[in-house]
Symmetry: C2
């Protein structure tokens, strides 16, 4: 990514708080300078920042001030800053630039970062930027854009070091020293056969520790984790994590080396994919705080309307017992406790199961064990909560029948919560539906409907409303 | 981590499915061999696996079979496998081993991995293992254990390459080639002054591309991101991510270089910290599926009991309106819709805000903007849902007053959900309370209480229950 740009030294970061966040008074000072038209002051304030922090500065600046800030900073706003920026904020800025300016920025970047900038542009602007690039860069970016979004093909960079099998360590050193134009952004070199298929990978530390006359084939590791070019980025991230990779070769369907993915591009994805679950479970979409507000409303409202459907379904169950409620209104007072606690217990199980599926910890081999486990937990928690609420109800209302009914309903709804919390996401996953997106609606529906039904139904059977 | 152990080659992984998970029929075959006492068959099956996959195999094996599996595999169960294993599963196995066996394993590992194995042992067993180690390893591990859990001091390895400032590239090469005992697990070398304080960092690719006579001081990057030894691992992970680091120097309070953290140790933490939010928001604790079941029950039950308190509070609000409900039971049918939809909307906002806080995207600089943003989203969604439910209520029940009351209550509760979804986590964060752990209880309480109160209160004011 930004190997040419130094991180801010630990010792003089007056702009950052102890958590590496830009201090609000610093952000204010920069924006004040911009508002006062004092561009020189603004540039002086921003100059010491790491590109990642300049990107943060733009994210923390209100939408309407971003163009002014960009105009004030101009030359500080380089390719590395764009590479670090939030997608929506970057689009904002890119819209304000001329295509040739975007092309200048893209030309400076590794393929993966250039693609990230260009992929979200309007088709017409995209074509204009591509036309302004020189033919090599253009071909590389066009090819990357031909792979599906969120695949290895989009993530990889084409700049890498590949050497033939028959070279010695000395040949490799001479090659690296003699070719100015080679990338400096690599941590391993790839050894390829004449068909350009990878036959081994070599950590730089191994090369550094060997005499010049040793054959590279004797230094390299033959077993390697190759990434197919169409692999989904989430799978790429899991593979990097599982095998503790620093970089990996990307191969085309014929097995030829076509690119390299490095771990610094993957940490963002690991973070994003792991954090996505919480947002998807709650129906908040990408949950990006820089997203245009209309897009956010649409995403969240869609989810809320679906949930409104299940809420109406649950309330129609209550409707079946209107007669009993009219005669004994205390039922209406207590029923939300049963449904709500079921919802809480179901969400707990759901969160655990969705994480376990996402991290490949829950597989066909241990699904049955997981179901049994959650059933036992639900039974223990249901019994505990049932006793607490039963005793409480008896003490407060002095009605033993009501106490028994609510305790029983609590146990039943906890069991339903536990079982649906496992079975629903596991089933969705079998059908290749993302369990994080769709499970919560069904689980809540189960715990609401069954919470009301078990409590009001048992109360009716017991003659409490009669 | 496991640079000496090759990842499983892409081409012959008959044990893995397309998502890098062990196939259930493979796991069954291994366990069948173990049950039949055919240890040789089990070893033959497991031998081709990467250590990370052997660790997975133990996690997928039921608790009661793990000791048998370990006995069958013996020599395949090496240090790298333990380093990759889930904490609870590892504890299980370590309990079954003799202290000197644990010491043999620990001695093979880098400090960080050895510490991970030893830190969770009983004090007495821990002392026995430490006694069995040789003095150097022992001192290193004892010192690491003296730092707080989840700090840089526990994460770092002491094995690193540090060279003096006055050396040339050639000196560095000769040093690396001439000292067998040096680690091979490094991606950058650190340049230190005579007081052993880091003055620069040098990527191996830069060294490889320079002639021997160049001074290392001219190759290294002077600006570096140093990690204080007591920094929390979550901060370390954010710093690695923000500045795209591959490795970083760890310094003691006097600024001396004492260790190194590499990105492969960080990807686990990034994943874990990002995934933790979803588990904490739902009150599922660590959500580790290998956790002993009693611990899981205790964690989840604590949370459920707290939520029971808020559910009772909400139901006592309903209790205030018992008279109205007895006269007009339809109120009890519709009230869960208002409270439930508020809960859903509140959870959406909460998920977004908790993620934004955890990733340092939401700071003092943009809190006000975030509050305004969520208020606008809540107003838009509340109005939409209010219209839908109002029209629906009018069509189904033909009661215009009831329709207006439920629509107004829906708008009010959505605004409360949006505002409490931002204000509660932001406030908790100001007081250094983890918003992921504590926010959901308060937000749900607000949306339940205010959902019931606004709907039943408005209905009473309107004379619907009269």
């Amino acid at each position: 990514m930004s190997e040419t740009e130094p991180p801010v030294p630990e010792t003089d970061v007056a702009q950052l708080d102890e958590d590496d966040r830009l201090k609000p008074e610093y952000v204010r000072a920069v924006l004040d300078a911009v508002h006062d038209g004092d561009d020189e002051e603004a540039r002086a304030l921003v100059e010491p920042l790491h590109p990642a922090d300049i990107a943060d500065l733009f994210e923390l600046t209100p939408h309407e001030d971003r163009a002014d800030l960009a105009n004030a900073l101009t030359d500080l706003l380089d390719a590395d800053v764009f590479a670090e920026m939030n997608d929506y904020v970057r689009e904002d800025l890119i819209d304000a630039l001329e295509p040739h300016q975007v092309a200048d920025i893209a030309a400076e970047l590794d393929t993966d970062d250039a693609v990230a900038i260009i992929e979200d542009m309007e088709p017409e602007d995209q074509r204009e930027v591509l036309r302004a690039l020189d033919p090599d860069d253009r071909a590389a970016i066009e090819e990357a854009l031909s792979y599906g979004e969120e695949t290895a093909g989009r993530l990889m960079q084409r700049e890498l070091i590949a050497v033939p099998e028959h070279w010695s360590v000395g040949n490799v050193l001479d090659y690296l020293r003699g070719h100015e134009e080679l990338t400096t952004d690599f941590w391993e070199i790839f050894v390829v056969d004449p068909a350009h298929k990878p036959v081994g990978t070599c950590q730089l530390s191994w090369i550094l520790r060997c005499p010049r006359n040793i054959a590279i084939a004797d230094v390299m590791k033959r077993e390697q984790t190759l990434i197919p070019i169409d692999m989904d980025q989430e799978e790429v991230a899991l593979r990097f994590q599982k095998y503790a990779l620093i970089s990996a070769a990307v191969v085309d369907p014929a097995g030829r080396l076509v690119g390299m993915i490095t771990v610094d591009d993957i940490v963002h994805i690991i973070q994003q994919e792991a954090g996505e679950d919480v947002l998807r479970l709650s129906g908040a979409g990408d949950g990006d705080i820089n997203e245009p507000i209309l897009l956010t409303v649409r995403t969240r409202l869609t989810w809320l309307v679906v949930n409104l459907g299940t809420a109406i379904l649950a309330s129609s169950v209550v409707g079946l017992f209107q007669g009993e409620i009219a005669k004994f209104a205390l039922l209406a007072v207590l029923m939300p406790i049963v449904s709500g606690m079921g919802g809480n217990a179901g969400t707990q199980t759901l969160a655990v199961v969705v994480r376990a599926i996402a991290t490949n910890q829950l597989t066909d081999s241990n699904t049955v064990r997981m179901i049994v486990r959650e059933f036992r937990i639900a039974a223990a928690n249901g019994a505990s909560l049932g006793i607490i609420i039963g005793v409480g109800t008896y003490v407060i209302f002095g009605n033993p029948s009501l106490a028994i009914v609510i305790a029983m309903a609590m146990v039943i709804n906890n069991l339903i919560a536990g079982l649906s919390g496992v079975l629903i996401p596991v089933t969705l996953d079998r059908f290749d539906i993302d369990p994080a997106v769709s499970s919560a609606v069904f689980v809540t529906m189960m715990t609401d409907v069954m919470g009301f039904f078990s409590f009001l139904g048992l109360a009716t059977l017991w003659g409490l409303g009669g």
